[in-house]
Symmetry: C2
Subunit: 332 residues, 2 copies
């Protein structure tokens, strides 16, 4: 399998990207990596490592798209950027997949315009996996589509289900609709209409899931519009971070004995942090486009990029794209 990776995408690029690539080459046989970015910088970075040179190619790209730029404009104008070059490698069939830790907006726009949608899919959706108390769960969409029609949500459910069942090697994944009430008639215009579409489908639709219950992880795939999905994602990250900081604040101002307690508890917190660590999970798949497109977290380190590569390989091996194409061609 050949994977294009945006060498300049992410807060810690290019170092973290190259580190992740080298780790992946050692761990996963049969994968070839195409790194896009300024040739001299990439070569310099790779030099630090010992790695199988026949399985890495540097594709020169002189420009970089920053997260502050207007995504659509940047993708159109910066044809020599690391992200656009990587997208073209996929578009022209040289690579089978793309990974980027760069501007989410540019990535989504680029995947949609350059790679294109699967026939029958109205709106591709970004669908990260998140850690819950009783298991991982997936939210579709978390920001690619901020204004949605009910039928988009029905498609998000189909795509999310295919991905979740294949990646976690399970059947009959439970699908829930994010809503601010449990009963069928609750919610806004969008969720009320989406509920009616979802209950007609022949998958395991469990009904509305209230935001309070999302983080239990009891429901596998949660569908929602991109605005609410992004709010769910960011509130989860933000609340966890705030709570831990508040615990630290309290410990800091506490007397000696609780401080000692905190020291003894360290291994517990460490274990918990691993559970919450996005680096373990890989990236978020952009579902509904014609190729495998993985958005890595902006703050990814080497390990996170390596795991995104592992996820990409699995995405390919499990034939998710073909299943999705069949599902949606059928629909048309």
């Amino acid at each position: 399998m050949k994977i294009a990776i945006d060498g300049m995408g992410g807060d810690h690029a290019p170092q973290a990207v190259v580190e992740g690539v080298v780790q992946a080459l050692k761990e996963f046989d049969g994968v070839e990596m195409y790194i896009t970015g300024p040739e001299n910088i990439m070569a310099e970075e790779l030099k630090k490592y010992d790695y199988p040179k026949d399985r890495v190619k540097i594709i020169d790209a002189t420009e970089v798209i920053s997260t502050n730029e207007h995504p659509v404009m940047a993708v159109r104008k910066k044809k020599d950027s690391s992200i656009v070059k990587a997208l073209h490698l996929v578009k022209e069939g040289e690579c089978d997949a793309i990974i980027s830790g760069g501007s989410t907006g540019a990535f989504l726009a680029g995947c949609t315009f350059i790679i294109g949608r699967i026939k029958g899919v109205e709106r591709p959706a970004l669908a990260p996996i998140m850690p819950g108390r009783n298991g991982n769960f997936m939210v579709v969409d978390v920001g690619a589509n901020v204004d949605c029609k009910p039928q988009y949500l029905a498609q998000f459910a189909k795509m999310g289900r295919i991905y979740y069942e294949a990646m976690f090697d399970t059947k009959n994944a439970s699908i829930g609709l994010v809503n601010i009430g449990a009963e069928e008639e609750k919610g806004n215009e969008l969720t009320k209409a989406a509920y009616q579409l979802l209950k007609e489908e022949d998958f395991n639709f469990v009904g509305n899931v209230e935001p309070r219950d999302i983080s239990t992880g009891d429901v596998n795939v949660l569908v929602t519009d991109g605005f609410v999905g992004n709010t769910v994602l960011k509130m989860y990250e933000g609340s966890a971070s705030t709570l831990l900081k508040m615990i630290k604040d309290e410990i800091y101002s506490a007397p000696l004995i609780p401080k000692l307690g905190a020291a003894l508890l360290k291994p517990v917190f460490k274990k918990l942090m691993v559970k919450f660590d996005y680096k373990e999970v890989g990236g978020a798949p952009f579902l509904g486009v014609n190729n495998i497109c993985i958005k890595a977290h902006g703050s990814s380190d080497g390990k996170a990029f390596k795991n995104a590569i592992r996820q990409t390989i699995l995405f390919n091996e499990r034939g998710i794209l073909d299943t999705m194409k069949k599902e949606f061609h059928k629909e048309k």
Copy 2:
């Protein structure tokens, strides 16, 4: 001041309501309480306490509206319910305010239809105060208006600001728009349009606030549509609860030393729990209606009801209703 309280509203009613009323009568001079509910049950409950009998009246109400009922239908049909009776006490001028821990839907519908809106207010909004790391913050709206127009959000900002500044005795409260990006042009159709309205106002509008940053408490008043606001509220509660349970899970399965650490840390967690305790905060004001309407948490205990009564007294003393009426009459 005369306050009507729904004697049958809440998971622990009538016991918790009566307990809160009795505590409030002892703590706050000059307040008179009108409790609605089945006369015999209320009298039986009050008998348990020693209290100033001249400051409590039982208003017989034979029906109860449950949280499973259709709110609008229930308010229309159950004219002898504890909540509708309490609303009429306010409507007819016998009482100055209403508190209920019952069905949120019925409370909001009842306040809107029976008590009515302030002239000039398009949509009243439910606006709880929440604990952040660096201070309390307020979210307007958290569920009264699931489908919003931009101008509603501009009004939420005005109402929230008046309430926040009066209750926390501060000036120049910061107002933020909940949005999934920091830049002006980010968001969905609603937030983009609302941003333009908010920046024209002569209050301290600080721009978009991403969900990740809400729980810091750095921005005082956050405006959003009721669907997203409810998601924010419930994700915050749910994430905090999940994280604490995950900490407990880990401690439970940990060896002796971390377990000992957890025991030593108990006072720290206790202090933190007080910060997160809705019982300390009181209830959520329903802003934009013609009287003081406070929605207490469904799981309120006696202390929570007492604090909701304290909040109601403060709401009255600070002249919030008059300020709001002036603000919106001016607008018309």
